[in-house]
C-alpha cells in the first residue's frame, strides 16, 4: 500500500521521532523523514531551493513574509522547536555587565540579527527588563566559524538597523572570550562557555527567571513551525489534516514514553522532577499543537516584531496557519 510520497526535513526531536521510525504514519502519506542536525541547513535548502516538500522552518520569517505575492509556503500550527532563551544570553565578565540594563551602550554579538531566537531575546530584554535596544551596538557573524550575514545594515526592516560585521577571521565565540564584544545573544551557546573563565551567562539562574515570567505570561517562545510547500499542498489539500494529526500523535507518544517510570528514558537524572513541573506548569503538555494553545506566545512574538520594526502591523494570526484540528 503506497501513499503520497512526501519528504520532510527536520531535526530528530523526541516529539517527531515516531514519524522517522514509522511508529506513527500520516494517513495516506508515505513520509520520508530527512534527518538534519543543524536547523539552518534545513532552512537554507528549503528557502533557497524549495528543497523539500515539507520541513521545520523559522516562525518569524513566516510572520514577515506570509502576505507576499508568490510566497511559497503554508504553515501548520505544529511547533517542533520552542526554547526559553534567557540561558542563551552570555556576557564577558570583564565587560562590567551585571544586569540586563547594563547592555545599553555595549557591543552585543548576534549570529543573525533577524533570527527568531534573537527577536525573542531582544523583546524579553526590552519588555521584561527595560533595556533600550537603540543603545545596543550589534556585531553580526558566525558563532563558531567566521562568516554569516555580511553587510553593515540588516535588510528588509522598516527602519535601518546598523550592524557591524565580525572582523575577518573572527568568530563571536572567540570575540566574547577575548572581550572584543561584551555580550552575545542568539540560538547558540558559544564553545568558549565553560572553557574560558570570562564567558558567563547574563542570567546565571536563567531557569528561575524564565519560570517566573512564564508563570505571569504563559509565553513559551516558539522558534520553528512545520512548513509545507504551497504547490504541494494545493494539489492535495487533505495532507494538512493528515500531517497535523500525525505530528500531534508523534508528540503524544513521546510524552508518554518520557513518563515511563521503570527507568529514566533519557539520561537526565531528575526527569521526574521535570515531569512533575510539566504537570503543574504546562498542564501535562509543554508542546501543545494548534493555534489556540499558542496564541498568547505568537501574539507576543508579533508584538516584538512590530517593536523591532520587522513588520508594520500584526497580521491576523489565524491567517498564518492552515485550518486543521477542527479549527
Amino acid at each position: 500500500m503506497s501513499g503520497l510520497r512526501l519528504t520532510y526535513a527536520g531535526v530528530m526531536y523526541d516529539r517527531t521521532a515516531a514519524l522517522a521510525t514509522g511508529a506513527v504514519k500520516p494517513r495516506g502519506i508515505d513520509l520520508n523523514y530527512l534527518e538534519f542536525d543543524y536547523p539552518p541547513h534545513i532552512f537554507d535548502k528549503m528557502q533557497n531551493e524549495l528543497g523539500f516538500d515539507s520541513s521545520e522552518l523559522g516562525i518569524s520569517s513566516h510572520i514577515q513574509k506570509a502576505h507576499e505575492k508568490d510566497y511559497p509556503f503554508v504553515y501548520l500550527p505544529i511547533f517542533p522547536s520552542k526554547v526559553f532563551r534567557r540561558s542563551y544570553m552570555f556576557v564577558n565578565k570583564k565587560s562590567g555587565i551585571r544586569t540586563p540594563k547594563d547592555l545599553e551602550g555595549k557591543r552585543v554579538g548576534v549570529p543573525a540579527w533577524g533570527q527568531t531566537a534573537a527577536i525573542w531575546q531582544r523583546g524579553i530584554l526590552a519588555n521584561d527588563h527595560g533595556v533600550d535596544l537603540d543603545k545596543i551596538r550589534w556585531v553580526q557573524g558566525g558563532v563558531y566559524e567566521y562568516g554569516g550575514p555580511r553587510g553593515t545594515t540588516v535588510r528588509g526592516l522598516l527602519k535601518e538597523q546598523k550592524v557591524e560585521p565580525t572582523p575577518q577571521g573572527k568568530t563571536l565565540s572567540g570575540m566574547i572570550a577575548a572581550g572584543e564584544i561584551d555580550a552575545l545573544i542568539g540560538a547558540n551557546i558559544p564553545d568558549t562557555f565553560g572553557k574560558h573563565p570570562d564567558v558567563a551567562r547574563l542570567f546565571p539562574d536563567a531557569r528561575a527567571v524564565d519560570r517566573e515570567h512564564f508563570l505571569k505570561s504563559g509565553v513559551f517562545p516558539i522558534m520553528h513551525a512545520v512548513a509545507v510547500r504551497r504547490d504541494v499542498w494545493e494539489k492535495d489539500k487533505w495532507i494538512a489534516e493528515s500531517l497535523y494529526e500525525a505530528f500531534d500523535a508523534a508528540k503524544n507518544l513521546a510524552l508518554t514514553k518520557m513518563k515511563y517510570p521503570g527507568s529514566v528514558r533519557y539520561m537526565t537524572p531528575w526527569i521526574d522532577d521535570e515531569l512533575d513541573e510539566i504537570e503543574t506548569l504546562f498542564g501535562g503538555d509543554p508542546w501543545p499543537s494548534g493555534v489556540e494553545a499558542n496564541r498568547k506566545t505568537l501574539e507576543t512574538l508579533m508584538d516584538y516584531m512590530v517593536q523591532q520594526h520587522m513588520i508594520a502591523k500584526k497580521p491576523n494570526l489565524d491567517d498564518l496557519f492552515l485550518e486543521v484540528g477542527g479549527h
Partner: protein, 354 residues
C-alpha cells in the same frame, strides 16, 4: 568545577541522513556471532537497536521490553543471550556462586528513588521514623529500588524497619509483579504477606490498609487523591543532597551474559562494552543539540548544566571504578537486609572488559 566543552563547531557538510537508508541492514559478515539482547527503550541503548552502533564481530538482535521485571524473568528463562538485569539478582548470583550468567559493568538504569516512596497522610506517617512497625507495600521484597530505599531510610534517616510487615504486589494493578522466580533465601526474619488478589498496592494505600509504598512505580493516586503524598515532598532536593554527600547514584540494572556463551567467546565482553559506551556517548551528544531541544523538557539547559557540574558530563557512568561505591553500598544494604549471607567482592562480580 571543570565543565565539559558544551558544543563543538557544526560540520559544514549538509548531510541528510534518511532513516530508511540507516535502517537498511549492512551486508552480514559470515563470522558475526548472532546474539539476542533484551533491554529497555532507553536513549543510552538506542544506537544498538537502530544499528547506528554495531558491536565488533557481533550481530546483535535487540528486543525491547519496557517492563524490567518481565525482562529479567525472560533472561532467567534463557530467552536472551545478553540482557539488562536487576542489580539485586546480580549480587545474589555473585554471593551464592550461581554461575549461569557473567555480569558486565554496564549500568543502563540508575535512578534516585527518594521520590518513589508514598504514604497515606491520614495514617500519620510524617517522617521516615514513623514507618517503624507499619504495613508497607512493595512490589517484590527483592526489587532493587526497594532495597536502596530501605537502606537509605535506615542509614540516612534512622528509620527502624525491622518490625515492618511487607505487603507484596504490583503497585498499579491487582496481582503480583513478575513471575516470582527469583526469591532468594532470606537470612533475617521478615514479615511478608501477599496483597489480596483483587487489589493493587495503590488501592490498599488509598483504603488505608497499608501505610506506605516503596518501589519503582508512580502510585496512580498521587496527584489525584489528596491523601496520597510522597514521603519526601521535596524529593529532588533530597536526592541532590544525597548525591552530593555520598557520590552514590543508585544503580538499578546491570547487564548479564550467559556464562557458557561468554566462556566460548570471551572476546564478546570487550566488544559489547565498547558498543555500550559508544551508544551512550551518541545519546549524550544528542542531548546537546544546536540551539533546539531534543526532548520536551522546557528547562533542558539547566538540566545539562547540572549534568556537567554534578556528573562531569556523564550521568550514566559505566565501568567498575566510577561505580564502586554505589555497588558496595548496595551489597552492604543487601547483607543487612538478609538477602545474602556473605558479601561478594566488587571486583569478582564483573568480567574484564578492557
Amino acid at each position: 568545577m571543570a565543565k565539559k566543552a558544551r558544543k563543538t563547531a557544526p560540520k559544514r557538510k549538509v548531510a541528510a541522513k534518511t532513516t530508511k537508508a540507516k535502517r537498511k541492514p549492512a551486508p552480514r559478515k559470515a563470522a558475526a556471532l548472532r546474539l539476542k539482547f533484551g533491554c529497555g527503550s532507553y536513549d543510552r541503548l538506542e544506537a544498538l537497536w537502530t544499528g547506528a552502533v554495531k558491536p565488533k564481530g557481533i550481530d546483535l538482535a535487540v528486543t525491547r521490553i519496557d517492563a524490567p521485571r518481565h525482562l529479567f524473568d525472560l533472561m532467567d528463562q534463557g530467552k536472551f543471550d545478553v540482557a539488562e538485569y536487576g542489580m539485586t539478582g546480580l549480587v545474589v548470583n555473585a554471593a551464592t556462586g550461581d554461575d549461569h550468567f557473567v555480569a558486565m559493568p554496564v549500568f543502563p538504569s540508575k535512578m534516585f528513588r527518594h521520590g518513589y516512596i508514598y504514604v497515606n497522610r491520614r495514617k500519620g506517617v510524617r517522617e521516615p521514623k514513623d514507618l517503624a512497625g507499619r504495613r508497607i507495600g512493595v512490589p517484590n521484597i527483592t526489587q532493587t529500588a526497594a532495597i536502596w530505599q530501605r537502606g537509605q531510610l535506615a542509614h540516612d534517616y534512622g528509620a527502624d524497619l525491622s518490625g515492618v510487615t511487607w505487603v507484596t504486589g504490583a503497585i498499579d494493578r491487582p496481582g503480583p509483579l513478575g513471575a516470582g522466580i527469583f526469591t532468594p533465601a532470606l537470612h533475617v526474619t521478615t514479615k511478608m504477606e501477599k496483597a489480596p488478589p483483587n487489589k493493587s498496592l495503590d488501592d490498599l494505600l488509598v483504603a488505608g490498609e497499608i501505610d506506605a509504598i516503596l518501589g519503582a512505580n508512580r502510585a496512580p493516586s498521587l496527584g489525584k487523591n489528596p491523601d496520597i503524598v510522597r514521603l519526601f515532598p521535596d524529593y529532588a532536593r533530597e536526592e541532590r543532597e544525597y548525591y552530593k554527600r555520598t557520590g552514590v547514584q543508585p544503580i538499578m540494572h546491570g547487564v548479564v551474559v550467559k556464562r557458557r556463551l561468554y566462556e566460548k567467546n570471551p572476546g564478546i565482553a570487550a566488544s559489547l562494552y565498547r558498543a555500550f559506551v559508544e551508544a551512550k556517548e551518541k545519546a549524550l551528544a544528542h542531548l546537546r543539540p544546536w540551539g533546539a531541544q531534543p526532548i520536551m523538557l522546557p528547562w533542558m539547559e539547566a538540566e545539562l548544566d547540572e549534568i556537567d557540574e554534578l556528573f562531569g558530563g556523564d550521568p550514566c557512568s559505566y565501568g567498575v571504578e566510577p561505580n564502586r561505591k554505589a555497588i558496595s553500598t548496595l551489597i552492604d544494604y543487601m547483607y543487612e537486609q538478609g538477602f545474602i549471607a556473605k558479601k561478594p567482592r566488587v571486583d569478582d562480580m564483573f568480567v574484564p572488559v578492557a
